[in-house]
């Protein structure tokens, strides 16, 4: 660049040569657009406002964990913008209009201002304002009374989505553990636990990080609406397609995601298993499967006894000595001309091992038994899924099925996305096992761009949190939420409290709208069966109306916390941009105050003497120190500077599920935090990917291998045979783009974008039959409940489906509850083991039948 020449020393004197005149007069005219004016006297401020920008993490239950900058003027949040500071540029920027309009909630009309106490009837009378001391003393006193009468395990605790708040939500876990209360795990409560994961891979759930989609050459999306539910990452799907990947969407409805696909395949509701198994049949028949992969990483070579359907154990076979194995493992048997005791800790079977065939096995007791390999049984079982049969069950064209099977079988990298709306069905586990089979058959596991992912329940724990969440490793009580609704079952492995749940303490959730059969909770609190309910929230939700005590908490702009979800690979902080508004308090403070009132000894567990944000920093330091390899070397100071990528063993610290298993031949499963490995490894005792489940329940139900079972037969029709004729519509409660579940239900901007009205989407032919037009007020109902909304007639919706966008607070539904229609079905295979949030009965929201009528039509 040219240099400006300056002669400072003599400049001044030289400049006198030219007599300047004050010629500015000519410029006095209009000032133009860009000029400054003196502030009006009335507006004058002694001090200029204090302006600052604070980097925090938007942390609602979408778990998108988008970095945002809060623009703050004199301690008031004025604007929120995307931080766009991720080192990996493909993640910049991220965010959505919901997060960027959080001011509407932080300062909205529903914002809680003080603690509240219900002195009348919950859900009927108004709560009364109180001081913190009154509310906390009263809560502690009621809890102590209930614990004295029924035991502390009769107090239930629910906190949503731990991964978005390791400190404050962890504090509630910490107190519940100390006090011996029962915890309801969000994963199974929310229906976020895709049970095929523990059954097949021994893990809670897994997913490719979104940037890995760019490495896929084929993306098959089964009932996942990424364009609505993964807004900040949806571009990766389009980017992947634009750079040449084929994107195929299977869905009963033409979703926004289907609109972005290369190919949309409409299929009947919950018929994904039959489609997947039809695809697998073609792949196996045409030899498109990866034999070497199957021999090394799956249970396909293992022998299964023909007499009892159980896998043959090494200890049963004459002449075989099983290797020493830990309790959670089992040595099974494979065959390559002679019998081999398979070491479940090693993935090293010889290449000549049989994948197919039947042999006679001499047993130690002198008898003989016939046995077939798992793969042999699988091939036989796949025989029924002919293209014609698949077409019959799913509505899919047989030629398309064969073509797509060949495409998937020959794809370089295949990624399958299995949507939550799809696995939250009674047979969601079978569908997941069938879909995973496509990936496994073709060796599309554990490498870049390949795998099967479930992008819901994206709040699994990413680091060891035990030191903070579980003080001194004390035992914890866990009760899956479905038992709270159902009562105990015969086969349950979790421990049901003798008197049931008599008190509920929850935070960061709105169960009186959002949970399965929300109306049951309302009835129980009003009948007194549920004797006491206390809630922490920052807004006056429906659940607050049904609570005895409301403890006002804060948003992610008002406190310090640690966030890491699986949605993207970064560890981040929530940092206080503004002080808590009104008389609200950070939850850690509330919990510490409650702990000390419950038992003065407990205060010491919550950093007494530290102000809430300082205490939170101490908890973060503790978790970083003891968090294990994922946070190795990461410090609080680094996080204050910006997001830091979590560590993994994959090059570039990428998140690729089972990379270590496949690349380093390590036994399955990898650890699912926070559970210990031995707890989850028992799910896949062979140390391999298991498609053959021989626990008795699986054998009794005929589900030892993935099979297709049609919806409603074992659920709605079994519950009430009349439902078959009476209710022809599937009731699907999908996520809308305007809410994060029930958060933002009252966001004025969001409501403006959807006429402020809850809607149900119907197929035009169905609507015509019922005399319903777009805009008509309608009721969706079944024997259990009804919901009030407005119809949208949409040719993209499949036949006999009523789609309701979930998350609306009751007050927008004329007091009805859209979850009143659902039912807490428990599938017996979900009770084979119990590890909290890992193998537990999962809520099947969409396994629900209903009918639709115009308001005013005959009931």
């Amino acid at each position: 660049m040219e240099k400006t020449k300056v002669k400072p020393k003599f400049g001044l004197s030289r400049r006198q040569f030219l007599k300047g005149t004050a010629a500015t007069g000519v410029l006095v005219g209009t000032m133009g657009a860009m000029n400054l004016t003196p502030k009006a006297v009335a507006d004058e401020v002694e001090q200029p406002p204090e302006l600052k920008k604070v980097r925090t993490t938007c942390s609602p239950n979408c778990t998108g964990a988008c970095g945002v900058e809060a623009i703050v003027e004199n301690d008031e949040l004025k604007a929120i913008i995307q931080a766009a500071d991720y080192e990996d540029e493909v993640y910049n920027p991220r965010g959505c209009l919901k997060g960027l309009s959080m001011m509407n909630l932080v300062y909205g009309p529903d914002r809680l201002k003080t603690p509240l106490i219900q002195k009348g009837q919950p859900g009927v009378d108004d709560l009364e304002e109180s001081t913190w001391d009154e509310a906390l003393d009263y809560t502690a006193q009621r809890l102590k009374e209930i614990a004295e009468k029924y035991g502390p395990e009769s107090i239930g605790v629910a906190f949503q989505v731990g991964g978005t708040s390791y400190v404050h939500k962890g504090a509630l876990s910490r107190l519940a553990t100390l006090a011996g209360w029962n915890i309801h795990h969000a994963y199974d409560q929310n229906g976020d636990l895709p049970m095929f994961w523990p059954m097949t891979f021994g893990v809670q759930s897994e997913e490719l990080e979104p940037s890995e989609w760019l490495n896929s050459t084929y993306m098959a999306v089964f009932g996942s609406n990424i364009l609505a539910t993964r807004l900040p990452d949806a571009h990766f799907l389009v980017d992947s397609r634009n750079q040449g990947a084929k994107v195929v969407v299977f869905d009963p409805n033409f979703s926004p995601t289907a609109a972005k696909a290369d190919e949309y395949v409409p299929i009947n509701s919950s018929s994904d298993a039959v489609v997947a198994l039809g695809i697998c049949k073609v792949i196996v028949e045409e030899g498109l499967h990866d034999e070497s992969f199957l021999k090394t990483f799956t249970d396909f070579p293992l022998l299964v006894r023909s007499d009892n359907g159980k896998r043959l154990k090494a200890e049963e076979v004459a002449g075989l000595t099983p290797p020493p194995v830990p309790d959670y493992r089992q040595s099974f048997v494979a065959y390559n001309g002679s019998f081999l005791a398979v070491d479940p800790e090693k993935l090293d079977l010889p290449e000549n091992i049989w994948l197919e065939g039947e042999v006679e096995v001499p047993l130690k007791d002198g008898s003989k038994v016939k046995a077939k390999t798992v793969f042999q049984l699988l091939k036989e079982s796949l025989g029924q899924y002919t293209p014609e049969m698949v077409a019959e069950e799913s509505g899919m064209n047989p030629e398309d099925l064969v073509r797509i099977a060949r495409e998937m079988g020959t794809a370089e990298t295949l990624h399958i996305v299995y949507g939550a709306s799809n696995y939250q069905w009674y047979h969601g586990d079978l569908k997941g096992r069938a879909l995973a089979l496509i990936n496994v058959l073709t060796g599309n596991i554990g490498r870049p761009g390949a795998g099967i992912s479930t992008y819901a329940g994206q709040y699994r724990i990413r680091l060891n949190v035990g030191e903070w969440w579980v003080p001194e490793g004390r035992p914890q009580n866990w009760l899956p939420f479905l038992y709270l609704l159902n009562g105990p079952t015969e086969n349950m492995k979790a421990k049901h409290p003798e008197h049931g749940i008599k008190a509920l303490i929850f935070g960061w959730g709105n169960p009186f709208d959002q949970h399965n059969m929300a109306n049951i909770l309302r009835e129980r609190v009003q009948s007194g069966e549920l004797e006491f309910v206390a809630v922490m929230d920052f807004q006056m939700t429906t659940s607050c109306h049904f609570s005895h005590v409301v403890l006002p908490g804060v948003t992610w702009f008002e406190k310090t916390d640690l966030v890491a979800t699986p949605v993207h690979p970064y560890l981040q902080l929530q940092q206080p941009a503004i002080p808590p508004v009104y008389d609200c308090k950070p939850e850690l403070w509330i919990i510490r105050e409650l702990a000390k009132r419950w038992d003065p000894e407990f205060e010491q567990y919550f950093f007494p003497g530290f102000e809430a944000n300082e205490a939170a920093e101490e908890a973060i330091k503790l978790m970083l120190r003891t968090g294990g390899p994922a946070v190795e070397g990461i410090t609080l100071e680094m996080l204050k500077e910006g997001p830091v990528r979590l560590k993994s063993e994959v090059p570039g610290h990428k998140q690729i599920p089972f990379y270590e298993q496949v690349q380093f031949k390590r036994p399955f499963p990898p650890q699912s935090l926070p559970a210990k490995l031995e707890a989850t490894a028992q799910f896949v005792k062979s140390g391999q990917i298991e498609f053959y489940k021989d626990e008795d329940v699986f054998l009794e139900l005929g589900e030892e291998l993935p099979v297709h079972k049609p919806p409603f037969e074992d659920s709605e029709y079994a519950l009430n045979p009349e439902a078959r004729e009476k209710y022809k519509f599937s009731y699907i409660t999908r996520n809308g783009i305007y809410r994060v579940h029930s958060t933002h239900s009252n966001n004025i901007w969001m409501n403006e974008l959807q006429e402020g009205k809850p809607h149900v989407w119907l197929n035009p032919e169905d609507a015509r039959e019922k005399g319903i037009k777009t805009g008509d007020p309608v009721e969706v109902y079944n024997d259990r409940g009804k919901v009030f909304c407005y119809a949208i007639v949409d040719p993209g919706i499949g036949r006999h489906v009523a789609i309701f966008e979930q998350g609306w607070w009751s007050r927008y539904l004329r007091g009805t509850s859209y979850n009143a229609l659902t039912y807490p079905f428990i599938k017996p295979t979900h009770e084979v083991y119990f590890v909290p949030g890992m193998w537990a009965p999962n809520t099947a929201w969409n396994e629900c039948l209903c009918d639709v009528r115009k308001v005013g039509d005959q009931e």
């Binding site: 300056v6 400072p8 400049g11 400049r15 133009g32 860009m34 200029p48």
Partner: protein
């Protein structure tokens, strides 16, 4: 008044004039009287005084101004129209701006508006009780606004000098220097450089380059003034 005092008065008057002129040039769409002032002999002399132009470094820019003067004389309406097009294309849109006229674009990684720098600039304006006239609809760090701030303070410096308020004069000059160091000079290079890439236009790229040099030299002049008073 001594010769030195005279010299100071002249310098103060001319920098005041130039800042006001440049604010008008960048702060609003082109208007005939501003253009006529920009191409006037007075502006030429003022620029030569401030830039100590004796080495023909800026000949091409003066040539631009001469050409503009000529075309204004022959076809004022057409010329004005053309420059309005140039201004809109460069500073308003609708296409991607070749050199967006806001500080935060150059000083933030994401190249976006309304960043921390914007707030910092606003804070400085508020020290002198100024706010952008269309606050809060325009980012405070627009080139036109930053130049307006310098113009106001230059005028203030003149007044303090005339009233013999030396301490006040020093304070204003120090604040101007600080504002140059912390804001205008942080991005004017890149702005002036980027705008040269817009090859189809001629007036504003030239003015941007002149502005760059005026700002840099004024930074030195302020030191001289502070040493002299």
């Amino acid at each position: 008044m001594s010769e030195k005092q005279d010299a100071i008065a002249i310098i103060l008057a001319n920098r005041s004039y130039l800042y006001r002129l440049l604010q008008r040039v960048f702060g609003t769409d082109p208007q005939l009287e501003i253009l006529e002032t920009a191409v006037s002999e007075h502006t030429r002399e003022s620029l030569q005084l401030i830039l100590q132009e004796d080495e023909h470094l800026f000949d091409k820019h003066f040539e631009t101004l001469d050409n503009l003067k000529e075309s204004l004389a022959t076809d004022s309406e057409g010329t004005l129209d053309k420059l309005k097009g140039e201004y809109t294309y460069l500073f308003i849109g609708p296409d991607k701006l070749p050199a967006p006229p806001w500080e935060s674009v150059y000083l933030s990684k994401e190249r976006i508006l309304f960043q921390e720098n914007t707030l910092n600039v606003r804070r400085v304006y508020l020290e002198y009780n100024f706010l952008p006239s269309n606050y809060p609809h325009e980012a405070d760090d627009h080139l036109g606004l930053e130049l307006d701030f310098m113009a106001h303070l230059s005028k203030l410096a003149q007044e303090h000098f005339e009233n013999g308020q030396t301490e006040e004069l020093k304070k204003v000059l120090q604040d101007q220097k600080k504002f140059l160091d912390e804001h205008l000079l942080m991005w004017i290079d890149e702005f002036a450089n980027d705008i040269q890439k817009s090859k189809t236009h001629y007036f504003y790229p030239s003015m941007a380059d002149l502005t760059k040099h005026v700002l840099k030299i004024d930074n030195v002049i302020i030191d001289e003034l502070l040493g002299a008073i």
